[in-house]
Symmetry: C2
Subunit: 500 residues, 2 copies
């Protein structure tokens, strides 16, 4: 397929011109958000949150200004190239979503979620679900109303899911999880019965000094070609994340907990995957709404590709082993094979963010089921902890003993984001599908990773996915780039081959 | 004087409500600016400068919206308390300044100054004034036009000066410098002839590791009660500065050059003085235009108070000497008296930012004379280097051998800021006047500093100056707080007593 280059249509040019101040406000919001996580002194929160609130209202106002909306409407009938159609699709979608919600609803949502986040923190501090329960009821109610405002074809959950993964339906997610339930469960059981894959490892208990692992992470990022200081940074935050202030300034964070060094390595590698997607955008898209990753699921496929396919591979372990040995004194006691086993442990456990590649998706499956019940059925928040416990027992055979190990572990619902979780699994599964196609094209993939030559791999990802930004909706992008639709079977095969 | 509390007038409340989004944009601009100096990867500049440009236009647009301007006009006739009159004064002034410049002029100014800054950098890289000369001609021309747009009573320089120091006239500055020329010159000559005050010291040549001086600076800031992590931060940048994102988040930077450790200590102490002014604002002013220091001169008086009056005092040296000794191995060779002499060297030299307390003002005097010539006389940029050299010879008896040591040393003119320099001297001189009054009220000032008990000093500054924010114009604030007008004689006496 040949993409016509650049923006030629004069209405599109006018739209891009007007969009520039919205872009600038979004840029500022991102910097404020990053600073809040990485630098901000504690009491700065009061003024920062007011500033963020004002900026977010402002950017919405500009987006909904009649002259802007009319331009976007008008240009739909004109003869547009691929880029230009991408601009129209992204803006129409954003405008549709913003217009769907009445201002009173937006205000209520924002008030409730900021209070419910505090209540969730309070609940966690006391491991007491009852403090969060009334707020979760409000969130459920608001989410149902949000779905009604947005509209849907089959069920309310469709409307919320689409907010995070454009074009994906509840049916799609249901299919994905039924494949997983049918095929992944037996694999997990086999892994656990075989006993060849460890469920614990002494390396978990070894402790390190932050400076030691900083050196390792910097070495890895340098090998990856991460443009530190030129177009990127790495900082520290309790929950690692990636943010972009444009194509030329993409920042990641990692965490240093002092032990279980695998966590800091894999966080860094994971976030690098997100960052690379943003760094390899087509520069022609700068300042436009089509610059940047197209959806949460596709974004997660990039981070999971680097984390799981590369970061947990034997070749990668061999590559970084000398650097680990140089910086971690305890490493003398362990071989690269030990590190490989440690990086690839499988252990059914309670906390999603600490889960391994095989059990991870069962955590998401549970959340998807509960979220769907919240939207479709007449359920109260107080019934959810019991459903959670039953679900964990059924899916992974473990039962949380505290609320913090169970229903209070994630912040998402407190933030009012229902419909987000499935994108984690979409990304995880998609990464295996991408890996299959990439390895078909790059036959010496393993030896490239072993030698630390990531250029051809990055180039493939750029060519197939990154450079398209948000021109095409996620499903179309996948079909175009991989020559087929999203298919969870690749992940099953990948796990089967890796572990059995 | 009793200040009526709070904001009661309903129009004022409406104004403050509308101002909140302007405040938010300013907040964002400050964060973006801070991040640019402290964190931003190099290539981020392209997108960052576009974002900053858009935000600055946006905040101006909101300030000049007819409904906002009309409210400010309307409320002038109403019965207002002190706070409310402060709001009106500050906003009317900002609106008047913004309205004075036609949009084409603003655009031209912004284009020329961004190009001239690049030309200045280029000129500095090659020590070649001719590369900057045509741009300086443009800046001179634009500054004359700016003065005409703003209007003035006596001479064009008045208009520009007022931008940086509200209410101060060229005549005021001329008087200040004539007092200095008449009284400070003989003192300087005497210091240099006496030979008791050193003009060089072996401590200048001693080198340190960054971590060592970081510990010292942190220790000092802790003694000062700087709320690190709660409401403030210290970071590193080549040119130290202070910025505030509100009352609860005030950040300073310092520099570590690896030798001449006095520079990093005094930079830190200087910036702390700026920061304290912002931290001790009345919290009722949060989100309003009267929160924050009232003028550059008054701000500089606060930083110079901490740098010169406290930071260069014998008591302060004794206070920090043990910490210096603990962290700097070379300190074994030196006594507190050595450190005192080193901190208080007097050496007529070429570079303003490295100048001591006595010679500093002569640097400003030269710039003031040249700037006034630029605005009032038919002069070309190419004549300025010669005038600079002559001026330095006459004032300090030194002649620059390169442009970088002379006319190319400051970035201010390249930025298009003419009329700014005098505020440095106003602040320096005012700090001595403030010190006189503070010491009259706090009789045990010296011993407090010696014991590291800064609370009463901070409290006095809060009571007398900080808590007023920008309610009163600078001259009125000084008269109210000190019981008299600004008077350069205090500085003369201070220097005389200190050095002779």
């Amino acid at each position: 397929m040949v993409i016509q280059m650049g923006f030629e249509n004069s209405t599109i040019k006018e739209i891009i011109g007007k969009y520039r101040r919205i872009w600038a406000i979004n840029h500022a919001e991102s910097v404020l958000g990053w600073d809040m996580e990485v630098n901000m002194p504690k009491e700065g929160i009061l003024e920062r949150s007011v500033a963020q609130g004002e900026l977010s209202v402002l950017s919405q106002e500009f987006m909904l200004k009649p002259e802007f909306v009319n331009l976007v409407e008008k240009v739909k009938d004109e003869n547009l190239n691929e880029y230009e159609r991408g601009i129209v699709r992204v803006l129409s979608r954003e405008i549709r979503i913003l217009k769907a919600f009445p201002p009173e609803f937006v205000r209520e949502m924002s008030e409730v979620t900021s209070k419910s986040t505090k209540a969730w923190e309070e609940a966690r501090n006391h491991d007491d679900f009852s403090k969060f329960e009334p707020w979760l009821d409000k969130i459920i109610n608001l989410s149902r109303r949000a779905a009604d405002y947005l509209g849907y074809e089959n069920e309310p959950y469709d409307a919320l899911l689409d907010l995070f993964e454009e074009g994906t339906t509840t049916k799609d997610v249901e299919n994905m999880f039924s494949v997983l339930e049918k095929n992944l469960k037996p694999i997990l059981d086999k892994i656990l019965n075989d006993g060849k894959v460890p469920s614990a490892h002494p390396l978990e208990g070894e402790s390190y000094r932050r400076e030691e692992m900083e050196k390792v992470n910097h070495w890895i990022l340098e090998k990856f070609g991460f443009p530190l200081g030129m177009r990127s940074r790495i900082d520290v935050s309790p929950h690692p994340f990636t943010t972009q202030f444009g194509i030329k300034d993409v920042r990641i964070t990692t965490r240093y907990e002092g032990s279980d060094f695998r966590r800091t390595v894999l966080s860094t590698v994971h976030e690098f995957g997100h960052a690379l997607y943003e760094l390899q955008q087509n520069e022609e898209f700068m300042f436009t709404p089509i610059a940047g990753g197209v959806s949460l699921g596709v974004h997660e496929s990039q981070s999971r590709f680097w984390e799981n396919i590369i970061g947990r591979s034997m070749e990668f372990i061999h590559l970084i082993y000398p650097v680990l040995k140089e910086n971690l004194s305890f490493m003398n006691k362990y071989s690269p094979e030990d590190v490989y086993l440690y990086f690839n442990m499988v252990r059914p456990d309670l906390i999603r963010t600490e889960a391994d590649m095989v059990t991870y998706n069962f955590h998401i499956m549970l959340r998807f089921k509960l979220e769907r019940i919240m939207l479709n059925e007449d359920i109260k928040a107080k019934e959810l902890p019991e459903l959670w416990t039953e679900g964990m027992e059924e899916l992974l055979g473990v039962r949380p003993k505290t609320y913090n190990e169970g229903i209070l572990q994630d912040i998402h619902w407190a933030h009012g984001t229902i419909g987000y979780f499935p994108t984690y699994s979409i990304g995880t599964l998609l990464s295996a599908q991408i890996a299959y196609h990439l390895k078909s094209d790059i036959r010496n993939f393993d030896s490239l990773v072993g030698r630390g030559e990531f250029k051809p791999i990055k180039e493939w990802l750029r060519e197939k996915i990154h450079r398209y930004g948000s021109i095409y909706p996620p499903k179309e992008l996948i079909k175009m780039s991989l020559g087929e639709e999203f298919n969870p079977e690749y992940f099953i095969k990948y796990v089967e081959k890796k572990y059995l």
